[in-house]
């Protein structure tokens, strides 16, 4: 990398050389060069209007021509650039911009559509899942209710049967007890008849048996 400060220094040197040449005190290399240049020039250009000594930039005789051609070339360039060149480049850039933003818009739109479809799908799945869940719950509830009802029926049936059986047992027990009294009375009468040899009075036997049963109960 060239040191910028060195460049500044070199430029100063060059400027000094230029000034020296311009002011007429030409260094030897420049002088010999200038002479050679003049020799070539006089061969190439008979007119010699621009053959002035010193800085060519300060030769006022060339000013008119330079301004004239600058005006023509720059003016033409400005017209061509503003009417043809820049609109063309601008159109290309705008077309690209439009294409890119158009594609982006389209992509955004497609994405929105996709999102909508995905949302709808997810909604449907969620609904189906909720429906299935509900159905499952309902079915379970129904089954539970039916099972409970059947259990209750069975329990009620069993209780009724138990009650009936108990009633029957109670009845038979009473019957048995009654039979036991009759048997006891008969046995007592027979025992009295055998022991005492007298036929006991029926009412007396019954009373004695009842008293004995009462005593034992």
């Amino acid at each position: 990398m060239v040191n910028p400060r060195l460049m500044v220094w070199l430029k100063g040197l060059a400027a000094a050389a230029v000034l020296t040449v311009a002011l007429g005190g030409t260094p030897s290399f420049a002088q010999s060069g200038e002479e050679t240049a003049h020799a070539t020039d006089s061969v190439e250009h008979e007119a010699g209007v621009h053959d002035e000594k010193g800085l060519p930039q300060l030769n006022t005789k060339t000013f008119a021509s330079q301004i004239f051609w600058l005006a023509i070339t720059f003016g033409t360039l400005y017209v061509l650039v503003s009417k043809v060149g820049l609109p063309r480049v601008g159109a290309v850039l705008e077309a690209r911009e439009a294409k890119i933003s158009g594609d982006l818009d389209k992509a955004t739109q497609l994405k929105a559509e996709t999102d909508a479809i995905v949302a709808a799908y997810e909604k449907a799945v969620a609904e189906a899942r909720a429906g299935a869940h509900k159905l499952l719950n309902d079915t379970a509830a129904t089954a539970d209710a039916a099972a409970a009802k059947r259990t209750a029926d069975v329990v009620a049936g069993l209780a009724a049967k138990q009650k009936e059986a108990e009633a029957r047992i109670e009845g038979q027990k009473q019957t048995a007890l009654a039979n036991v009294r009759a048997v006891a009375a008969e046995a007592a009468a027979a025992a009295v008849a055998k022991l005492a040899g007298v036929e006991p009075d029926q009412a007396g036997v019954d009373g004695a048996v009842d008293a004995a049963l009462k005593e034992r109960a």
């Binding site: 040449v21 290399f29 060519p56 030769n59 060339t62 051609w69 503003s82 820049l86």
Partner: protein, 249 residues
């Protein structure tokens, strides 16, 4: 061989031409102005010939140049300066191509002539002043007195502001011309060293003469940078002047 470092700035007639008593001959300077204008236009037109969505090389260059100047105008002159984009673009492209063409050995650098750079700078100056006058009318003259400054300073400030305003085309033109001229002269001076050494020292001269050539290699790289940079500086100052004209202070 010409070793005069100023010989390269000589204006050579190609087609003698006189108009209303003025010498307006077509010269080497005119030739390279035409070359620059043709190349700029050619780049923009040929670059957009295919109008490709994905640009090729030439189209990339054309688009790069367009967006570079467009960005420069937008950032430095403001959004209101958009109508002046073609002018700024023309100035940048013309000066850049003038500078760059001048880097080709054997060509003529028309931007190394003060009259060319001054005419361009004067164009900018007149244009900017007209824009300011049209946009702001007499209010434009408030530009020469910074708002908020004490009235007592007016006798000092106003002349300073006016002088600095009038010096704009001078500094603009001298900066460009002096940079181009100094750079090209320096290249020629170093090249001249080589030739002088070879002429004076013979075989040793061939060896020693390689040193200025090596320096010139580095200098040419530097000068190409300067060629771009000066076109950029000229344009950016134009943009800033346009901003001043649009916004005043």
């Amino acid at each position: 061989m010409a070793t005069d470092p100023l010989h390269q700035f000589r204006i050579e007639q190609i087609v003698p031409l006189h108009l209303a008593g003025h010498d307006v001959s077509f010269t080497n300077s005119s030739l390279y102005m035409v070359v620059a204008a043709v190349l700029v236009t050619g780049l923009l037109v040929a670059g957009t010939a295919s109008r490709a969505l994905v640009p090729g090389r030439l189209q990339s260059v054309a688009e790069l140049l367009y967006e570079f100047v467009s960005g420069m105008v937008r950032d430095n002159a403001g959004a209101q300066a958009r109508p002046y984009f073609p002018l700024v673009f023309s100035i940048f492209a013309f000066v850049l191509f003038g500078n760059m063409i001048g880097m080709v050995p054997g060509t003529f650098t028309f931007t190394s002539h003060i009259i060319v750079t001054f005419t361009l700078a004067a164009l900018v100056f007149v244009f900017v002043t007209l824009v300011a006058l049209i946009r702001h009318g007499f209010h434009f003259f408030s530009f020469f007195f910074p708002s908020g400054a004490p009235i007592a300073l007016a006798p000092i400030l106003i002349p300073i502001e006016i002088i600095s305003y009038l010096m704009r085309p001078v500094s603009l033109s001298i900066r460009l011309f002096a940079n181009m001229m100094a750079g090209h002269t320096m290249l020629k001076v170093f090249a001249g060293f080589t030739i002088t050494m070879i002429g004076a020292l013979g075989a040793v001269g061939w060896l020693a003469g390689a040193v200025p050539v090596a320096i010139n290699v580095a200098l040419i790289g530097f000068e190409i940078m300067v060629a771009f940079l000066q076109a950029y500086v000229f344009t950016i100052l134009t943009c800033l002047y346009i901003r001043d004209a649009i916004e005043l202070h």
